[in-house]
């Protein structure tokens, strides 16, 4: 069976609006989900689950959050990590202070805290656009981390703000093992990614993109800039917040505010530039790329030189490669790896008869 839509006619607008209009894509997606949910937990070892898959999923979710704001609504943010911190510390405090609160509820509330803070720091976007906003989001980055460090209440008065995530138990099922953590993370991430996909393909997403592409025209057709931008800020921060909570509860277990630093915000930005600005799938491709790059570097070095890279050199090499890739992608393929994947599919659609 060739990859194409031949013979698949869309009889209704409803069919035309599906996420995967081509049947092969639907099958591909279901197969991928089957693999991730049913096969991976059994074949992946602890290293793969804990050091690769879980962080890729979590950073993918954070990148998706940033992509909603930057890729779809066109508002640049350099403070994603701070909103992750809000989500992590928010969830921690709900778990700590409300007896018997279900984890998923605390997660949701943590995300909502991030959304509220996101709206606050999004306020200047009403008066300015594009990169001017970078300064407001830097304010969020530095201020939020500072608050979490200085005010002990947020970390239940532990030293330098370190928090240790409580154990997660949902309806009697314990989420301690890497497999269980992976499955929970995967579930949350897949659900949220689908919700995001639905938003961006409907009127909500069209409004964001309208504001991104031409704000005056958007306003003239009746889109309220303020409401739309703040909504994007809120939803984006919500996604980052949930990602931050998962980062604390499903990935590291112990986190401190300083861990959610500017460098992390930049990394998340790089994920969307490399993966694909304005692409849901690109967020995850970018996250996988950035998380795996150091691993690749080490493997590459080990196999050629026979030694691991000194940490110092590795980190500088990483800086150089990140920087060069950002420049490369913005110049050569501004829609990132996701676009390359799409182009491959389009080629495939024509294959083997390219005309």
């Amino acid at each position: 069976m060739f990859y194409r839509e031949a013979g698949q006619f869309k009889a209704s607008y409803q069919n035309d609006q599906q996420i995967f209009p081509i049947r092969q894509d639907q099958i591909g997606f279901i197969a991928l989900m089957g693999f991730l949910f049913l096969v991976v937990p059994f074949i992946a070892n602890q290293y793969w689950l804990q050091a690769v898959l879980i962080p890729v999923l979590i950073f993918g979710l954070a990148a998706l959050g940033l992509n909603i704001l930057t890729g779809y609504a066109g508002q640049l943010s350099l403070g994603s990590a701070a909103f992750m911190a809000v989500g992590a510390f928010g969830t921690y405090n709900f778990m700590l202070r409300i007896d018997g609160i279900p984890f998923l509820v605390a997660l949701l509330l943590g995300g909502l805290c991030a959304a509220a803070i996101g709206i606050l720091f999004g306020l200047p976007s009403l008066r300015i656009k594009g990169f001017y906003l970078a300064v407001a989001t830097l304010a969020a980055q530095f201020f939020i981390v500072w608050v979490l460090v200085k005010f002990g209440w947020f970390s239940n008065y532990s030293s330098s703000g370190v928090i240790t995530a409580q154990h997660v138990n949902i309806l009697g099922v314990d989420f301690r093992s890497p497999e269980m953590k992976y499955l929970l993370t995967l579930t949350v991430v897949v659900v949220m990614a689908l919700l995001a996909k639905n938003m961006v393909r409907s009127s909500t997403g069209r409004k964001w993109m309208a504001v991104r592409d031409m704000d005056v025209a958007a306003e003239v057709i009746g889109i309220r800039l303020m409401r739309t931008k703040l909504q994007a800020f809120a939803i984006s921060s919500f996604y980052c917040g949930v990602a931050g909570a998962l980062y604390a509860y499903m990935y590291l277990g112990t986190v401190e505010p300083e861990g959610f630093n500017l460098d992390m915000s930049f990394r998340i930005l790089f994920m969307i530039i490399i993966g694909g600005v304005g692409s849901i799938m690109g967020s995850f491709i970018g996250a996988a790329f950035i998380v795996l790059l150091p691993v690749f570097l080490n493997v590459a070095f080990h196999s050629t030189i026979g030694a691991y890279v000194p940490a110092d050199l590795a980190s500088n090499l990483e800086l150089i490669i990140f920087g060069a890739l950002i420049i490369f992608f913005l110049i050569v393929e501004p829609h990132g790896l996701a676009r390359l994947w799409q182009l491959t599919k389009e080629k495939l659609r024509l294959w083997p008869f390219p005309h």
């Binding site: 919700l195 009127s203 909500t204 069209r206 993109m209 009746g222």
Partner: protein
Amino acid sequence: MAREFGDVIIDLQNISLRFGGVKALTDISFNVREHEIRAIIGPNGAGKSSMLNVINGVYHPQEGKIIFHGQERQKMEPYEAASQGIARTFQNIALFKGMTVLDNIMTGRNLMMKTNFLHHALFWGKAQREEIEHRKKVEEVIEFLEIQSIRKTPVGRLPYGLQKRVELARALAAEPNLLLLDEPMAGMNVEEKQDMCRFILDVNDQFGTTIVLIEHDMGVVMDISDRVVVLDYGKKIGDGPPDEVKNDPKVIDAYLGTSH
């Protein structure tokens, strides 16, 4: 062609607009009647676009009154103008470059959509029904403007003439009662111009939409407009039916006489 027009739907009184030291509009008054095609002409920089921007709230004049549907309106934001049924196109195409033709036109209906982002996130029931319902309307517009074959194309890839048409489609999707068109035929070849003229007349005819039109091509203006306002250096120097304006010595002096 003696056509009958309804009441004045928008009345502009003594409008003045400045940008710093630049006087874009000085003491301009004119009105637009229901169902007419009202042209604004004048050399570059005369203030024509600014006039449209004042009508739909993009620019706020320092002086003057605007009476819309019999009500004097206060300082108004563009989205409020939109919700009162004013739609427009722009001199320099202002489409949403990253979106397809279909999505661009769908945004034109945003004010009529009642579902919120939570509905959209679930994309089930109400949200989906609404999306389909509006899609049908949009398909009507697409058919009307004969752009079926490009509905899934990203607008950035379209030739200039078609982009202009998509922009008109987006404005029409809002089912406006007042349509402002800023040089809809600029940069088009004769054939494209003829198409555009036909669409404008059809819109006016079939939907009864009132149209304010900025156009440089005097042939077109004479053909399709009912009344013409002439601006020069931000001042009104003529107002009336095309034939009358064409023969007004002041207008000939300032505009028609000189090449622009």
